[in-house]
């Protein structure tokens, strides 16, 4: 066990997998010589060379399409989109090609592709560089959506994603790259679609992923001081969606709140809330509530931006409404 950053954990996963299987290639803008704009691919270009760690032009649709074709041709590509905001440029490739190829050709072709993309707000990057798009991608059948929080999750989930026969969107959070945590030494594989209880509690289930897991853990500490014992359930991804874990937790706590960094309207919180009510309405002692970002493009001004993003205090306020 070693305490390392999320950045190091992801780098370890990439390094180990590139070492394990020559069919794995990494491609993206500045992933090679520059070692990644967030330095996630540090050392990989030097270790594996330009045929396997491929610097691409700034052409997101081209990157994803090329990675998709390479996957269909027998490779196992990992495409990095510098930030998830630019994935919108490649939306046709992701949605119309990557996600649909297995189904629309009757299962004949496979796309074993991982698309890594960091995102998230809070850095005063303004309207076009602050997205969290996991809820959007959850909407499309055919592509897995994984969103790690702890460094160990990032490593174990990424290694599993790389070995998956299906396309996986692996959404990292820019704010978490420097966050440290314990990561077991040696091989670490975490199955996709298995939620993880990051803090056990009796009174309310806080359902989150990625950076909002930390926000919920902070909220849980504040709530504990007020006598409310919150459980923090880390979904670790949205597709596959571990509703069994959600229902099991809510069955015990009888209260639930979804906490997401992206916009409230059309977000994944609404989907989870609806499913809870469809499957276990009778166990609820209170309505399922949602905490999410304000329905507004990210403003540049620091105070305004912080107002738009959920914080522990917002979670605490809403939890208290349930009692």
């Amino acid at each position: 066990m070693a305490e390392i950053t999320t950045r190091e954990a992801i780098n370890q996963a990439l390094h180990e997998e590139l070492e394990r299987d020559e069919k794995i290639i990494l491609l993206g803008e500045d992933v090679g010589l520059y070692e990644g704009s967030f330095k996630v691919s540090k050392g990989l270009y030097a270790a594996f060379g330009e045929q396997r760690v491929i610097d691409t032009p700034i052409a997101e649709a081209g990157i994803i399409g090329m990675a998709c074709g390479a996957a269909m041709g027998g490779l196992r590509p990992i495409a990095e989109i510098m930030t998830v905001n630019f994935a919108i440029v490649a939306m046709d490739q992701i949605v119309n090609h990557v996600a649909k190829i297995h189904y629309m050709f009757g299962g004949q072709l496979q796309v074993p592709l991982v698309i890594r993309a960091p995102g998230g707000g809070g850095n005063q990057l303004g309207a076009q560089h602050s997205h969290s798009l996991e809820g959007l991608f959850m909407h499309f059948p055919g592509i897995r959506v994984v969103c790690p929080s702890f460094p160990a999750d990032a490593k174990g989930l990424l290694k599993t994603a790389i070995r998956s026969a299906d396309p996986v969107l692996f959404l990292e959070h820019e704010e978490l790259y420097g966050v440290k945590g314990d990561v077991p030494d040696g091989e670490l594989l975490i199955p996709l679609g298995v939620a993880d209880i990051k803090r056990a509690g009796r009174d309310v289930t806080l359902i989150a992923l990625s950076k909002m897991v930390y926000t919920c853990l902070e909220a849980a500490e504040q709530l504990a001081a007020e006598g409310i014992d919150a459980e923090v359930l880390d979904l670790r991804g949205l597709n596959p969606l571990d509703m069994a874990a959600v229902i099991e937790s809510v069955g015990r706590t009888r209260r639930a709140i979804t906490v997401e960094e992206s916009w409230l309207t059309g977000g994944w919180g609404g989907e989870i809330a609806a499913r809870i009510m469809e499957t276990c309405f009778d166990v609820l002692d209170a309505p399922v509530l949602r905490v999410a970002a304000a329905d507004v493009s990210a403003p540049y001004n620091k105070q305004l931006e912080q107002l738009a993003i959920p914080h522990a205090e917002d979670v605490v306020t809403r939890v208290k409404e349930l009692f």
């Binding site: 649709a61 994803i64 399409g65 090329m66 998709c68 390479a70 041709g73 490739q93 090609h97 055919g142």
Partner: protein, 328 residues
């Protein structure tokens, strides 16, 4: 007359097979409108009639195992690669026996067995995929090449240029073939592209661009064969504009009234099938009866394909939610 390069030295059997393939493609397509109007098929139906020389010429220049990837006017392409017309017709009928198990339809035909990597419905969207297939072939040193077909409209899309740039940058064995039939649905090339000589569009990427008579199967064959040889020897990508014409509208619902009768007549006179037939008779001593026999046999194959599609079962309801993911 065909500007035939005698240096091609094609066996008569291969020439006859080209003729047969074009006849099959034509008769397959010409059987579709009636079936569509009878409600046997749904959705879009983009027919290939008139453009056969491109698909057949290109396919004959390829080897088994080479990749082909195409857009949504691809019935002819996949049949030219060797797909059984029965499973293609069954797919158009949406049947369980269809090549994409009834889930793809006219625009989404693929064959893993034949390395036909799909027909795609977003204009230009599959061009970057061709680059990736080429990268995989090059990286794994399989010796395969990729033939990527698309229409003139695709050359105005952003991904055309991204794919052209990346293909040249990574020096992949991809042959881009633009089937320029003069129209993106109802808008002519002249009204949609600032450069109307579309073969020039690869020059920005220093990728050789050439134009070929897309109504002449031997001319297409020759140029594609050269491009493939170059790609297989590590010479990188090529780009070919094949000037052709669709004898029908953009899709089954398009009467094509934006094209003048005179224009249609000029292109009809350049029909690639009688053109090759005439060449075979005049220069290769093929008897008219032999060509008639080929037509009769291919009409029989199309009839058998329709019969197969008619008799095939619909996909079971439990097939709705299969093939979404490989794992779980």
């Amino acid at each position: 007359m065909l500007p035939i390069d005698d240096g091609l030295k094609l066996e008569i059997a291969e020439l006859l097979q080209m003729y047969r393939d074009m006849v099959l493609l034509r008769e397959f397509e010409e059987s579709c409108p009636k079936l569509y109007s009878q409600g046997k098929m749904g959705g879009f139906l983009h027919l290939y009639s008139g453009e056969e020389a491109v698909g057949v010429g290109a396919s004959h220049a390829m080897q088994d195992g080479d990749y082909m990837i195409s857009a949504y006017r691809e019935h002819g392409h996949i049949i030219a690669r060797g797909a059984d017309p029965k499973v293609i017709m069954a797919e158009l009928f949406g049947k369980a026996t269809g090549i994409s198990r009834g889930k793809g339809g006219s625009m989404h035909l693929a064959s893993a067995e034949l390395n036909f990597m799909g027909g795609y419905g977003i204009v230009g969207g599959h061009l970057p995929l061709a680059v990736g297939l080429g990268y995989a072939a090059k990286y794994q040193q399989t010796g395969q090449v990729v033939v990527c077909l698309f229409g003139d409209g695709a050359t105005n899309q952003g991904v055309f240029h991204e794919a052209m740039n990346m293909a040249a940058l990574y020096h992949v064995p991809v042959i881009f073939i633009c089937e320029n039939n003069g129209y993106g649905i109802g808008t002519s090339v002249e009204r949609a592209s600032s450069v109307t000589e579309l073969y020039k569009k690869s020059c920005a990427y220093e990728t050789p661009g050439n134009r070929v008579d897309g109504m002449n199967v031997l001319a297409v064959y020759q140029l594609v064969r050269e491009a493939i040889a170059r790609a297989r020897e590590g010479g990188g990508p090529s780009y070919i504009e094949a000037a052709t014409y669709r004898f029908r509208g953009h899709s089954i619902s398009d009467p094509g009234n934006y094209r003048s009768p005179q224009e249609k007549k000029i292109w009809q006179e350049r029909d690639p099938i009688p053109k090759l037939g005439k060449y075979l008779q005049q220069h290769k001593g093929v008897a008219p009866a032999q060509l008639e026999t080929i037509l009769a046999e291919e009409l029989q194959r199309v009839a058998a394909a329709i019969e197969f599609a008619e008799a095939s079962p619909e996909p079971a309801a439990d097939q709705l939610m299969t093939d979404i993911y490989v794992e779980g």
